[in-house]
Symmetry: C2
Subunit: 388 residues, 2 copies
Amino acid sequence: MSISKEVVQALSSVLTFKDGLVPLHAPVFSGNELAYTKECIDSTFVSSVGKFVDQFEKMLAEYTGSKRAVAVTNGTAALHMALMLAGVKNDDEVIIPGLTFIATANAVAYIGAVPHIVDSEETTLGIDASKLDRHLSEIAEVRSGECFNKQTGRRIAALVPMHVFGIPLDLDGLLALCEKFSIPMVEDAAEAIGSFYKGKHCGRFGKISSLSFNGNKTITTGGGGAVLTDDDKLADLCKHMTTTAKIPHKWEYFHDMVGYNYRMPNINAALGCAQMEKLDDILASKRKLAEAYATAFSTVKGVHFLTEPEGCKSNYWFNTIILEKGMEEERDSVLEATNGASYMTRPLWAAMHRLTMYENCPRTDMSVAESLEKRVINIPSGAGILGV
Amino acid sequence: MSISKEVVQALSSVLTFKDGLVPLHAPVFSGNELAYTKECIDSTFVSSVGKFVDQFEKMLAEYTGSKRAVAVTNGTAALHMALMLAGVKNDDEVIIPGLTFIATANAVAYIGAVPHIVDSEETTLGIDASKLDRHLSEIAEVRSGECFNKQTGRRIAALVPMHVFGIPLDLDGLLALCEKFSIPMVEDAAEAIGSFYKGKHCGRFGKISSLSFNGNKTITTGGGGAVLTDDDKLADLCKHMTTTAKIPHKWEYFHDMVGYNYRMPNINAALGCAQMEKLDDILASKRKLAEAYATAFSTVKGVHFLTEPEGCKSNYWFNTIILEKGMEEERDSVLEATNGASYMTRPLWAAMHRLTMYENCPRTDMSVAESLEKRVINIPSGAGILGV
């Protein structure tokens, strides 16, 4: 049997209920979503002021164990703010993985900084710490507690690990590098709500980090994101910057810096509160699905189902299969066959260094990312599949 | 009787129902807001894909008479995009009024361009075309169809008139200037949904323009904005830029420029559709309120109630009283007395040239703006006051 047929068969064995298209990741609204939304509309507080914004931030902080959470319009805005708050400035370099969603690179570009693109590892799809160590040892130097790229002369102002599809990456390895080369870590945990690295929530290892609640995420607020930090000063500044930097006053309109309109509206936060109440159930359902996939794909030759690393807990946001090396040419036929059978699947993003606007950025050898791009496929992953 | 008491009395004569605080502008949800929101939640399409986004854009285009409308996260994002699409670049100058909400200046700053701040006129609170003509005649020169500031050497890439509180400003005067000095007009119509200049909707005079649907606006989507243009190419590019610049493909993730995540979520657009259905009723109610205020304040000496200019229609977003010159010292006591009597009122924004981050920007004499700042007061204006 062809590999495409085998993959379709494995999917069928898990997704037995199928009636029409199985989306990659539809949200599940089985709780108070409508009730809280109604409360917003009844109270007329649908916009940037309202109790659900505060409540959502509290729930996020409590769940992740972060001292503070600041809700914003989306994950891109959250990372933009996190990078600025970490001190990234115009003409700095920021280390990002090639394998990530475009928002990671764009958030760097918004500041006028330059993405420094690095390769990933096959086990977690995250930044390869050993390869990065060798690279930095070659091109970086630390002067007065800051890291500089000797080749470009620019400061390397941050390292942004991204937990791909919710799989926690090698944080110990990268934290050691951050220490060694004096680079602040800013975690892009956009895909990682509900993922834990050695018992601690992803996004709590950097100085500051970002989450996303886009419609396709584990939980959603329509569009939304959040900044996490244990630093009260940074959190206060984040709130200030994302709410147009207006100085509190009973009626005066004074602003003390170039601020942003990145406020999460109350009606979106209302959805978020209802989703947070269901997060444990959603995660349990997704984990059950991942386990079923692991079993189903264990007998499919040439296909590896990606599981969480030892000691870590993945939210299994997007379940992922990886074709063996040598099977690169099968990827598109698997995508065709699965989508043709109404199982929505998709490949990895094009790696950042392959996009016109980032192709001239400094980077490492990108052979692993390029190889993974040709072999990774996401399969249906929503919590609605097995129910919440 | 003191002026404060007289103002409170005039407010009382109009706001006869008062029971508790009368807010400056609460939204009114008397239509399909909950039904459409429920539809989003039931369908699971709460995020960036969904029928309400398309529908809201169509309703906006139809209502304003614009060929196209592109819905985005808020008015700030809309103006940011409108300026980029009008060709504003890093280190250009953009003419903006000193009397505006901070978003106008910030949108310029996001591009790395410099606000060039100009004075306003007392009649509309908008940019004073005659004063600007004299200023440009002194400092500007046109070379190869583009305008340059002779004093700074920078290109003047756009003129951004802002219709303050929904009062249409002197568009004829400013359009003539744009023609004379070869400066593209980008209208900031954030406050002007439902306002018409000589029969044509505000925001349809520039090359491209922005609207806002923040919670305090005439209609709201929680947070939201839109870009208006008659140019299909600009509208398509706007949609592309605001949706991460992803190239359409059944599964590949390729992006061809540094894009933005400025998508309006479907659940916010659902509110917008319901609000658009009620817009005429909302405007009628607000007009009735303005008329009542006009009568009530006609007998208050030293206080002028601001009305729409001849041939124009204001949405009367924020109703406005202006104290006579010489009464600047009364402003704060009027604010204290009215807020103390639970009528929410507020002064103008601090003019842009008075804010630290913009105090060194090029500008005209700002005497009118500075005088107005000390005399303008907004009074309760929501459509809920007289009902919809």
